[in-house]
């Protein structure tokens, strides 16, 4: 019975098995388990496959429909491609953690109820934190803890929302959720934290680029796209998401334009791309939702490809800043070519996967006569080419000659890049199978002459701007402050200030106490100390004199 095997749990199990193995067995396990998961997702029939009862609630940990199958499929493909790329990663924790992470992401997509969603949601946070942590640098460790804090906060919001939802409706089933109660707002907030939506978007560019050369590839795929999936299922057509998405789109572009670290450029670009999907979810028509789902599918492949090429550069040179790189096309032609395929795909050039997916979101905006949204999406599409499509390959592979002559990365890494490059082009040319997998049936035709010509104009002229304004884009040794400043600088500064004030206050109190003590001591010493008036041994005569004086005073007072 194939339904007895849950693809997500199979992958999680693969992670645990791989953790105990070394050498060839380990390589076999990390490649075969994702393939097994892929086959299980592909063959799983639609409908509810697992039912159970938990805390008095009927739960469905394994349920399949078109939407969940689409996301589970791409997650399994991603787990395989990522594992192939990371096969020569020496750090033994990373790949097992990545498989657990990928498996729990599949678990979220196949969950028919919110309680199961929550369990896998948290497992995902743990898996991904371990992936970041595996880079074994001080920066990665610190970043992984900040990352975990943000995601645990997201988890708490989600749990509170789910609890409220179950209380209100008496059901944990995961379907469309209207924004009509605080509980539902909390669920939305929990989802949006993982989507890297404002105000907590900074966790992504803060943490992802700190992972190892292979770790970032996994990270780029699962957390944000799982968030896109749950938003698609729960909050399709929520108008607020249009504005949230548009903000993310432009936030990503502006910050990526200012960035110098090649993987941080791509990290900001993830926020930008998820912004397109979130906008589509907010528009909420069948065309828009298809577009958001297709874009998530295409994005996972080309963003992984871009980060694989960046990872290869990091692997080969040990450098990550654009300022230190350049001219690498001479000795890394395969990496350069694959990086360019990723770059033209994310830019949605005709004949690439980005073109056939993003077009649907723009089309939905046009169909809905949302002029401003459509106009902003077009500007953003041009901006994508600017910040990711040209900037990344130009500064890393061309630009100036940095003098670096690194060799191409090992075969497994090149194969992973070639596989994903083939998928980028393949999906762009033969888009039929992807469209057939989308949640709603569609007859959308991406390749019409006006659309192709228009898109080429848009992209090529933004390319022209890039080269004309290149002096303004000169790389500087800078970072750009983001919301994480509040919890990395302001918060600690406030607490340090508070602690400093308290300790100063306490020190002051201590001083006062010591001064008081000293006073007491001196007084005691003066009166009772050696030779003090009250501790001297008076003579008998003096005693008799004082007693008679006392008695005399008593007499006077008695008769007075």
């Amino acid at each position: 019975m194939i339904e007895l095997l849950h693809p997500g749990l199979v992958l999680v199990l693969g992670g645990f098995v791989a953790a105990g193995l070394r050498g060839t067995w380990r390589k076999a396990v990390v490649l075969l388990f994702p393939l097994a998961a892929l086959a299980l997702v592909w063959t799983a029939p639609e409908g509810v496959l697992w039912r159970a009862e938990f805390l008095g609630q009927a739960i469905t940990p394994f349920a399949v429909d078109r939407l969940s199958r689409l996301f589970a499929l791409i997650f399994a493909v991603m787990a395989f491609g990522g594992a192939l790329f990371a096969l020569n990663q020496a750090e033994r924790l990373e790949l097992p953690a990545a498989l657990v992470y990928a498996g729990s992401a599949i678990g979220v997509t196949l969950a028919g109820d919110l309680l199961t969603v929550f369990v896998f949601w948290e497992l995902m946070a743990i898996g991904s934190t371990l992936v970041i942590w595996s880079a074994r640098t001080g920066d990665a460790r610190a970043a992984s803890f900040r990352y975990l804090m943000v995601h645990l906060l997201g988890g708490v919001l989600l749990m509170a929302g789910v609890a409220g939802h179950v209380l209100q409706t008496g059901s944990a089933a995961f379907g469309h959720i209207a924004l009509d109660s605080p509980a539902h707002w909390l669920i939305l907030a929990g989802f949006l934290v993982n989507a890297a939506a404002p105000p907590l978007s900074a966790w992504l560019p803060d943490a992802y680029p700190e992972a190892s050369w292979s770790g970032t590839v996994f990270l780029s795929a699962f957390t944000t796209k799982t968030a896109v999936y749950v938003l698609l299922r729960g909050f399709a057509g929520t108008e607020l998401l249009v504005y949230v998405g548009l903000f993310m789109v432009f936030y990503g572009i502006v910050y990526a334009l200012l960035e110098n670290d090649m993987r941080r450029i791509l990290a900001y670009s993830i926020v930008n791309q998820v912004g397109f999907m979130v906008t589509g979810i907010g528009i909420g028509t069948e065309m828009a939702l298809n577009g958001a789902a297709a874009h998530a599918f295409a994005h996972i492949i080309y963003k992984a490809l871009l980060l694989m090429s960046a990872g290869s550069v990091l692997y080969a040179t040990g450098k990550r800043k654009c300022g230190d790189l350049g001219g690498l096309f001479r000795t890394m032609p395969v990496t350069t070519a694959c990086g360019i395929v990723g770059a033209v795909s994310i830019s949605a050039f005709p004949l690439t996967s980005g073109f056939v997916s993003k077009s649907m979101i723009s089309q939905a905006a046009a169909d809905g006569h949302l002029f401003a949204v459509w106009l902003l999406l077009a500007a953003a599409s041009a901006g994508v080419f600017l910040h990711a499509g040209i900037k990344f390959p130009w500064f890393v592979f061309f630009q100036k000659d940095s003098g670096l002559r690194p060799a191409e990365p090992p075969l497994n890494m090149r194969l992973a890049m070639l596989l994903f490059s083939a998928l980028c082009i393949g999906l762009g040319v033969f888009y039929g199978p992807l469209y057939a997998l989308l949640p709603y049936g569609t007859h959308f035709v991406p390749y019409t002459t006006p659309h192709v010509v228009g898109q080429l104009q848009l992209l090529l002229y933004s390319g022209l701007v890039f080269f004309l304004m290149l002096p303004m884009l000169r790389r500087t040794l800078t970072i750009t402050l983001d919301v994480d400043w509040f919890y990395r600088r302001l918060g600690p500064a406030f607490l340090n200030g508070l602690a400093g004030g308290l300790s100063r206050g306490l020190a002051g109190l201590g001083r006062d106490a010591r001064a008081l003590g000293g006073l007491l001591l001196r007084w005691t010493e003066r009166w009772h100390g050696y030779d003090g008036p009250l501790s001297r041994t008076p003579t008998t005569g003096a005693m008799a004199l004082w007693i008679s004086a006392l008695l005399a005073a008593y007499l006077v007072m008695y008769y007075a």
């Binding site: 046009a366 006569h369 041009a382 002229y461």
Partner: protein
């Protein structure tokens, strides 16, 4: 050692010329292609070309403006000021 053919000045000049020719071609194509514009602005000549150009220029200028306020040295968070 000889410079890589792609980095030679002659090649770069050729690439620029090719790029400009393609830019001109995409605009020229606009005269022969009649789409079904959803919005009036789309009917303007080479809408996507000038719109893409202006949007990107505006984005770069805006980013520079943001950068003027929010850029910090890249060891900002590593520095300990105590």
């Amino acid at each position: 050692m000889d410079e890589h053919w792609l980095a030679r000045p002659a090649t770069r000049k050729l690439l620029w010329r090719g790029f400009i020719a393609i830019l001109a071609l995409t605009v020229a194509a606009d005269f022969f292609v009649t789409g079904e514009p959803h919005f009036g602005i789309e009917a303007s000549l080479a809408f996507n070309a000038w719109y893409g150009f202006l949007a990107c220029a505006a984005l770069i200028v805006f980013a520079k403006g943001v950068g003027a306020f929010l850029k910090r040295p890249d060891d900002y968070y590593r520095r300990r000021d105590d």
